[in-house]
């Protein structure tokens, strides 16, 4: 379990990093917190010729907030993001999702950008990013800066819309509507493990009714997908309870969960239904506390 041979560079500027990445022609990799990449090297599942660590590049880490939402630098560690009161206030769903990522020791190294770029189908942050309508800023020498909405970013297991020469520099999380409540729930084998099933849910509430809902699940497919009311084909204006039950069944019918050592496909399907219902119900209840109950 020793790493295979590779070269290592820690450039001082993003431009230099982008040059190295482009010159690597797909054989170079960005090293962020290393919490996913290093284990992959140790198991010799990845063999990049060059690792480019960006920790010396100024300006890639940090949380900013303006009225329209949060901007989180890609190299912000998961722990710094989690402990930032602005994240907790402006995006309770992201905060809740961060708390489920590994353990504090992992989060003190792992980065928000790294988790999204790694695109583990069981990871929390991709699912949260989808429900929150997050956008990723990507930079490359060849194409300059482009913005990729989260719903176009995740293409498959460990596969994203990034080109080999692109670096994610920032994640933007728009402020949620004030009548929205959210909830992240998951079941894992142990606290801190990747989820067998995780559910990110957001509900926009008007009085006793559900105006809108958005869901994304982790651990149940090749990638998290955004599921809206339309995509779930939820009909009518039934009571929230009936709607959540419908949503749970609809999710369970739509997914093709994997089978592994920790859970059968049937178990994951079952959990998806249970957790979807629970997460939606909690999100709905929280929306009332946000003032959603009044703003019918």
């Amino acid at each position: 379990m020793k790493l295979p041979p590779f070269a290592y560079r820690a450039p001082e500027s993003l431009e230099e990093g982008l040059e190295l990445l482009a010159a690597g022609e797909g054989e170079a990799r960005i090293l962020a917190g290393g919490q996913s990449l290093i284990p992959m090297l140790a198991l010799r599942l990845a063999r990049p010729s060059l690792l480019i660590e960006l920790r010396r590049v100024p300006g890639l880490a940090g949380v900013h907030e303006d009225g329209s939402g949060l901007r989180i630098g890609a190299l912000t560690t998961e722990l710094v993001a989690e402990r930032d009161p602005r994240v907790r206030a402006a995006s309770p769903l992201l905060f809740e999702a961060l708390e489920f990522v590994g353990h504090p020791a992992i989060r003190s190294r792992g980065t928000v950008g790294g988790s999204l770029c790694h695109a583990d189908p069981a990871a929390e942050l991709p699912a949260a990013a989808l429900v929150l309508g997050a956008e990723l800023t990507a930079r490359s020498l060849a194409r300059g800066t482009r913005t990729i909405p989260a719903r176009d970013f995740f293409l498959g297991p460990y596969t994203t819309a990034l080109e080999f020469d692109e670096v994610v520099t920032e994640v933007r999380v728009p402020a949620p509507p004030s009548s929205q409540g959210s909830c992240y729930l998951e079941v894992s084998r142990r606290p801190g493990d990747f989820a067998m099933v995780g559910v990110a849910a957001a509900v926009v509430r008007g009085g006793d009714r559900v105006l809108d809902l958005r869901l994304a699940l982790s651990g149940v497919g090749d990638r998290p997908r955004l599921l809206t009311r339309d995509e779930l084909e939820l009909e009518g204006q039934d009571s929230p309870e009936v709607l959540f039950g419908q949503a749970g069944r609809s999710v369970a019918a739509r997914i093709r969960p994997p089978e592994d050592l920790h859970a059968s496909a049937a178990y994951r399907r079952h959990l998806s239904r249970v957790l979807t219902e629970r997460a939606l119900r909690t999100a709905f209840e929280r929306a009332a506390l946000q003032g959603g109950a009044a703003s019918a």
Binding site: P4, R190, L261, L275
Partner: protein, 781 residues
């Protein structure tokens, strides 16, 4: 000697561990911390296939790789060393099977070592391993017991003529047919214990250093006993015993894995001898999980003859053990399971059939409480009997447990049950958990859709167990010696790897001799000094080594007092050793420090001032068999809540009521219990050594083999019962294995109780959430 009050004794107090400061501040020295000039590093090229014939091994490219010093394949290694069966491989354990230190003609499991690369660093050695090309002819893998018994599948060892290793061997105790004839009912169950394994923090590791000029092999080992390692290495390397010295410093856990020397460790010694340079191998986690060894995979067909009132008259048991690829420890396990299955119960009749098979999985090794299956099967059967008869499980246990005043106080398989306190422990556990109140609450919460359950398991642990016929010579040897600095050196063959021996043995010796704790040094881990004894295992430490140290210190104290009396011209009975000084009326200055006393004895002896017959050899060697000390034991009780929507199990309460005799160090005892319970929690809820149907190993990282963390282990309440003291001097008993033996059935019984409204029948030990939902019928199996 002035009678000591408890407050003046180290024994019985939670004396702070002398090991702690060094280990907790990172100053321990494990094999990975050991370096020698010119040291090389080993890595193994291992089989990716579970079962295949080796057609060709090409090591050319690896030999030319950067930093590589040597590569050895199976054929070359055979010239250098030959394997011996693992410890415990009894005669009849599959007869003579032949295999190489490295695989030669065949590979028999994923991870089987095929070639050894020695290079300037472990990373370079691993790089070179990837360049080795092996041509295989794949054979059908034998993964399950059913497949092992299928004659159409290829034999893993051709000389066995199949994959049955031994058995079925049937032994009968008592009137089994009579018991079944008298029974009102027969309760039947197929009970399975799943494969899981030892995962010590430090895996297997060795630093072998052969000195060509003296012909000596010096080995720095990670082992449970240097003598056994030395013997097995000498045998495998075909070297005279006196040419091999084995030294061990800190050992980062083992749980039964590190007895003797593995094939890989022997290969590293052979390589060092061939190259004349030190070779170090520190197994990585993948190797540890995949090939070091696994345990516990055993299945049982059980029939219990019971009366309507819940008396268990007799058992018929058929046990099959899956021994994995290379035969070793399994036959020994079967013998202990058979002997121990009656436990502390008055079971009158037992028929026990046992067989073993080989499969293309990791070899069976000892794991903390190797015979634990008997407790699991028995305690599960007791609950199943209760369930079928509609009586409480507590009632069935009480009806069947042996009582000390009711003869014969003896298991139907032979061993005496003298001194057991099983019944007291059960009653006390039921009292603490307040069973009646709990059951009210349980019923109330069920109406709210919440499912709580309570489970008990009662066990005994041979620690070391009663004296048995033919057991003569089964002793621990301790040599106690006073050095010229006035230090009391206590030499033992015990090899601490987490058990705190350096503290607890010192407590016993210090009290008995009259020394201060700081004056005692527990000397372990050097085959040049270590007394006879196979090492740490089988809960032999407290009663056997502790007892030997006690008697040794006592005898040495007598010698010292005798000599001192001569020198000072006083009566020995007027003298005492207290807090490391000779004291008594007439002793100059009111007290003579030990170092000074020793130099005076030495001077007197050398100048002929002592009368003949005064023994001035200030050492005492004692062998002790544990005395009348016999069983540890107790009852565990667990309360769980099962979420029927997710299958998650939460342990709400965990309680241990136990008796391991007199406690040498209560904090250490509690630590042993907690560690064992943690492993039991792991076994039931998390840990499984899983193979896919093709024989590929699925649990090869710690993201797949799930160990319990601090967040998964509940608070464990512990109460110690006051013991029945049968020995005049030594009433400490071992406590290393009980936690691990009793926890799995306790937790499974609690889960089964919680699931009883669903009509679920729990017949296995591993109950992850996905399985719980299958059991209650929420998802299909």
């Amino acid at each position: 000697m002035r009678p000591r009050v408890p407050a003046e004794r180290y024994t019985g107090a939670s004396v702070r561990r002398v090991e702690d400061e060094r280990l907790l501040t990172g100053r321990g020295t494990f094999v990975a911390d050991a370096h020698l000039p010119g040291m090389l590093h080993a890595a193994f090229h291992r089989s990716p296939l579970p079962h295949a014939r080796i057609v060709a091994v090409n090591t050319e490219a690896a030999r030319r790789a950067p930093g590589v010093v040597a590569v050895f394949d199976g054929a070359e290694m055979t010239q250098m060393a030959s394997p011996v069966a693992a410890l415990g491989a009894a005669p009849g354990s599959g007869g003579p099977v032949s295999f190489g230190i490295l695989a030669m003609d065949k590979v028999r499991l994923v991870g089987d070592p095929v070639a050894l690369v020695v290079a300037e660093s472990r990373a370079l050695a691993e790089d070179a391993c990837e360049l080795i090309v092996v041509e295989y002819e794949e054979l059908a893998p034998v993964v399950t017991v059913e497949q092992a018994l299928d004659p159409s599948l290829p034999a893993i060892f051709e000389e066995l003529g199949g994959n049955r290793l031994f058995g079925p061997e049937v032994k009968v105790f008592g009137d089994v047919d009579g018991a079944f004839a008298r029974a009102d009912r027969v309760v039947r169950a197929s009970i399975h214990q799943h494969r899981h394994q030892n995962v010590p923090m430090e895996g297997r590791a060795i630093l072998a250093s052969f000195d060509a000029s003296s012909g000596q092999l010096l080995v720095r080992a990670s082992t449970q006993g240097v003598n056994t390692t030395r013997q097995m290495l000498a045998q495998q390397l075909r070297m005279p015993l006196d040419r091999v010295r084995v030294v061990a410093e800190d050992v980062g856990g083992s749980f039964g894995l590190k007895f003797g020397a593995s094939r890989e460790e022997a290969a590293c010694c052979a390589a060092s001898r061939a190259l004349g340079q030190p070779v170090r191998w520190v197994e990585d986690r993948w190797e540890n999980l995949t090939v070091s060894g696994q345990a516990r995979e055993e299945s049982f067909e059980v029939e219990a003859a019971v009366t309507a009132s819940g008396l268990i008259l007799g058992l018929r048991v058929q046990m099959v053990i899956d021994s994995g690829a290379y035969p070793g420890f399994a036959p020994l396990v079967v013998d202990i399971v058979r002997e121990m299955i009656p436990g502390p119960y008055r079971l009158g009749a037992l028929s026990f059939s046992s067989s073993g098979v080989v499969t293309n999985k990791a070899s069976y090794v000892a794991y903390r409480g190797p015979w634990a299956a008997e407790t699991f099967v028995r305690e599960r059967i007791v609950d199943l009997v209760a369930q079928e008869l509609g009586i409480s499980a507590l009632e069935v246990r009480l009806r069947n447990l042996a009582t000390r005043d009711e003869p014969p106080l003896r298991m139907v398989t032979g061993p005496s049950l003298a001194g057991i306190t099983a019944r007291e422990s059960l009653l006390r556990a039921a009292e603490i958990v307040d069973l009646a109140r709990f059951q009210e609450r349980q019923l109330r919460l069920r109406d709210e859709g919440r499912y709580l359950g309570v489970g008990f398991a009662t066990y005994i642990e041979p620690a070391p167990g009663p004296r048995q016929e033919g057991g003569e010579g089964n002793t621990e040897q301790v040599r106690v010696e006073l050095d010229r600095d006035g230090l009391l050196l206590v030499h033992t063959a015990q090899m601490p790897h987490g058990q705190s021996h350096r503290t607890t043995l010192a407590q016993v010796a210090a009290d008995e001799f009259g020394a201060r704790l700081e004056q005692v040094r527990v000397m372990v881990g050097d085959s040049q000094q270590t007394p006879e004894g196979f090492g740490t295992g089988g809960s032999r430490f407290a009663a056997m080594a502790g007892g030997a140290a006690l008697h040794g210190a006592r005898r040495l104290r007598g010698k010292v007092l005798e000599a001192a009396a001569q020198i000072l011209d006083l009566a020995p009975t007027d003298l005492d050793i207290w807090r490391g000084e000779l004291v008594g009326p007439g002793v100059p200055g009111g007290g003579l420090p030990l170092a000074e006393l020793i130099s005076r004895i030495d001077l007197a002896a050398r100048s002929g001032q002592l009368p003949p017959g005064v023994d001035v050899d200030l050492t005492a060697t004692e062998d002790f068999d544990g005395g009348e000390s016999g069983w540890s034991g107790g009852t565990h009780c667990c309360v769980v809540e099962v979420d029927p929507d997710t299958g998650l199990v939460r342990i709400l309460r965990y309680l241990v009521v136990e008796d391991c005799g007199d406690l040498i160090n209560p904090a250490v005892v509690d630590g042993q219990i907690r560690g064992g319970v943690a492993q039991g929690v792991g076994a039931v809820l998390l840990e499984r050594s899983a193979y896919d149907p093709e024989g590929q190993y699925l649990s090869a990282t710690l993201m797949d083999y799930l160990l319990p963390t601090a967040l998964d282990v509940p608070h464990i309440e512990i109460e110690h019962l006051s013991p029945v003291r049968l020995d005049p001097d030594v009433n400490f008993r071992g406590v290393g294995e009980g936690g691990m033996i009793a926890a799995p059935p306790t937790i499974c019984n609690a889960i089964a109780d919680a699931l009883s409204p669903f009509g679920a029948k729990v017949l296995e030990q591993h109950l992850p959430p996905a399985r719980i939902l299958e059991l209650i019928g929420a998802t299909s199996a």
